[in-house]
Symmetry: C2
Subunit: 113 residues, 2 copies
């Protein structure tokens, strides 16, 4: 499977998209900093441990998150570079190259919540 399809599939699920968005919010550009422990994510989003682990593995397998152990916790962190690569791909190949330009100026544009 193409990596872009894997990344899209990883984000195409309510719980996983919420997880990823939470990780992006908690992101830090510094190595070894930022991110959220699995437990924190599960508590915030009310997801059972086994279910959460399943979704985190999906995101990791798609290359959108990575993890490090910190004491008893495992801290997950969004891979912003991977997300950039996905955006770049979509922009170039799936959008006629127009999606990056003047989005806010487009009349009658649709918007997702």
């Amino acid at each position: 499977m193409k990596p872009a399809v894997a990344a899209l599939g990883a984000l195409a699920q309510d719980t996983r998209l919420s997880i990823f968005r939470a990780l992006v919010r908690a992101h830090s550009s510094n190595e070894g900093e930022g991110g959220l422990a699995a437990g924190e994510i599960g508590e915030t989003l009310s997801v059972a441990p086994a279910t959460l682990s399943f979704h985190l593995k999906e995101l990791a397998h798609a290359g959108l998150v990575n993890s490090r152990r910190e004491g008893r916790s495992i801290v997950y962190k969004a891979d912003v570079a991977a997300m950039k690569a996905l955006m770049d791909y979509l922009l170039k190949d799936c959008c006629r190259g127009t999606c990056g330009e003047a989005i806010d100026a487009t009349p009658n544009r649709k918007e997702y919540a």
Copy 2:
């Protein structure tokens, strides 16, 4: 389900992503122009009629394509505005707002084929 998740799910499949990309290539900004007949898509991508119909319905249900009848054919067309909305959402909420800026200048960036 959130519309963004629906759109991501529609694109998160090899055949459907190929269909959508073909439709973007064949796009025209003019109303009632551009797009590809279902048969053309099926022939180009070697997808059986029933399978193709299934995938086109998925894309249409997610709002990423629309269609018009033209004689015996049904012509499908990418909804570029919907794709823009998806990109906008991802850019704002899933990327720390950095994915639209200087993508090509980013060192060691990842890239999807």
